[in-house]
Symmetry: C2
Subunit: 354 residues, 2 copies
């Protein structure tokens, strides 16, 4: 039987601690050459007939194989996206157009022994946990040992997971959260503070959140820099995607780790036979030349050398092997609990000898 899990199923079995353990194992396997990771691959098509700003259909894939986890994972999404301007900044957002105002992103797990599909699960909760867990792992290996205060930019879905993971990596005494809408940041402070048992204070500006903190975390969907050079101070560890960091902020780093996250983007009507690669903001940092988090975790590279150094991690795209490692844990736990719906596996197999 092939198991179909829901986001609720995933949420009910996957703790941030388990997620981070699975990710740590995946990175070690990757560092030792015992895992395979396909680059993320986005295929896009403009939808000029839609009213939303820059509406486009997008199909994404990434694949990872982790022998130790016994599975290959395909993460795919099939979505209609747009780029609204919110608070003067361009954001990348999905439209919920599938039946019942839903969207489609799936993790498909396959057996390395037989090839059969083991499970389908939505990627929402797992993606949030994976991103949070990845930044949490980086923080565990790069932040000062005694880091205890954290500034958080963003109060959405992802911010919660970032904070949960940071709270596992370090004992946090104080968290300051800023997001543009007062109501959002206040609710976040109240609700997530209670949930994670953390002292979270909403503050009036990004600059205030970044002041007097050991760790600065951005969890926004801004496509433009929100972390300026002034935000970054000695001894700090910074978690952010590259587009959230200004060049001045990046320039202050003593050590920046990344993970293997090159990606290909193919547009319809782009340049050349296969379209053109995604246009990136020119940056002083060549992402592909950065030291890898996996090598820091495996002890091949030392990240932080002194307490006053500034360290950063930006994860870029996800890696298929993260979904393999975490997905395999979810599947195991869900089976033990008897969760999910079943589809006969023979609906997906074939006898045909081609």
């Amino acid at each position: 039987m092939t198991l179909v899990l829901s986001n609720e199923d995933v949420e009910s079995v996957l703790t941030m601690k388990i997620c981070m353990e699975a990710l740590e194992e995946a990175y070690r396997e990757e560092a030792e050459g015992r895992a395979v990771n396909q680059l993320r691959y986005d295929t896009r098509m403009p939808l000029p007939e839609r009213a939303e700003r820059m509406a486009h259909y997008e199909f994404k894939t990434m694949v990872g194989i982790v022998p130790k986890a016994g599975v290959a994972a395909l993460r795919m999404s099939s979505t209609v996206n747009h780029r609204p301007i919110v608070h003067g900044m361009e954001r990348s957002e999905r439209l919920y157009l599938a039946p019942g105002n839903t969207t489609v992103g799936l993790i498909q797990l396959y057996s390395l022994e037989t090839g059969e599909p083991l499970a389908f699960m939505p990627d929402g909760v797992l993606q949030g946990m994976r991103v949070g867990g990845t930044y949490g792992l980086a923080l565990k290996y790069l932040a000062r040992e005694n880091a205890a205060t954290l500034g958080l930019l963003g109060s959405g879905w992802q911010a919660r997971f970032q904070l949960a993971a940071a709270g596992i990596a370090r004992k946090l005494k104080l968290v300051k959260v800023y997001s543009p809408t007062r109501e959002h940041r206040e609710r976040f402070a109240r609700e997530v503070g209670a949930e994670l048992g953390l002292d979270i204070r909403p503050v009036e500006s990004a600059a205030e959140a970044a002041t007097d903190v050991d760790i600065l975390v951005a969890a926004t969907n801004a496509k433009e820099p929100i972390i300026t050079g002034e935000f970054v101070r000695k001894g700090m560890h910074v978690s952010a995607v590259q587009s959230e960091l200004s060049d001045q902020a990046l320039a202050k780093a003593d050590f920046i780790a990344a993970h293997s996250s090159k990606r290909y983007v193919i547009y319809m009507g782009g340049e050349g036979q296969y379209g053109k690669l995604s246009p990136h903001r020119p940056s002083m940092v060549e992402h592909e030349k950065l030291p890898l988090l996996e090598d820091v975790i495996a002890g091949k590279i030392k990240g932080r050398n002194r307490d006053d150094e500034i360290t950063m991690f930006h994860s870029g795209s996800g890696m298929g092997l993260q979904f393999a490692a975490v997905g395999a844990r979810v599947l195991k736990l869900a089976k033990k609990r008897g969760l999910g719906k079943e589809i006969p596996t023979e609906w997906f197999t074939q006898t045909l000898h081609t």
Copy 2:
């Protein structure tokens, strides 16, 4: 509802004529920049513990979006493969290890309007028809108008589709078939001859099959050249994958068409961070520089100029957009006939706003 079709369902609705029409449309759309095609992406892991020669697990993906067909197609396979030596030649074959001695290769169709999964179908029959249909289309545009005799190397599954498509592209008076096992070629001549209404004669050697024919088709799984320079004669059209053609054979061509079929292969334990690209036999032909079949079909490039020219087509890997175009036709026909099994689409969607 998301429809699940079987190979039998696909076979019962998809004729070679419909398949070739869908492919022709897909190529035209591609040539006009109205379709998107992801490069094929193979992710491999050696399985040294298995007894079979060069056993490895392999996960393949390719994606194509054809707006005119209304779908994005993901073709994926999750298989354990090996490389046995058969008749002194290395072959690439799958092991049937999924429950009931099966294997896993699926075409997943997604809606461009909503993102939802529309259908899952095995890739076996569709792949056979697609490859046959693609070579048939090339033959339609490149072979001499009066070509009427065909030499066929191979008598397997693929050979049947190649011949069906060739029989649609040209009126064939005589077919000569050779494959190493006498019983196989004799049965092929008898059965496929009756099925397609063609005069098919089994012959004793590849050289004999290639003698006095207007069209030469190789449909083998040989990893080494089987078409020598001597086989290729003035006025001939040759259908073969690059590995089946010797350099001498390739050198005789006046015109070689290909399709957009670059691929990435990532090995575990290979060179570099992402492994190394697939090792190819060094060849005088740079596949990526070949004129494209889509441009021949769209009339942008003229293939054959004179009756005595030698034309060739080798398709390399498949293209995602072929599976989108043909898969969409299969889905439409299957729905009209009420075929297949249904899975609630909400099993694959999510409400989560990430």
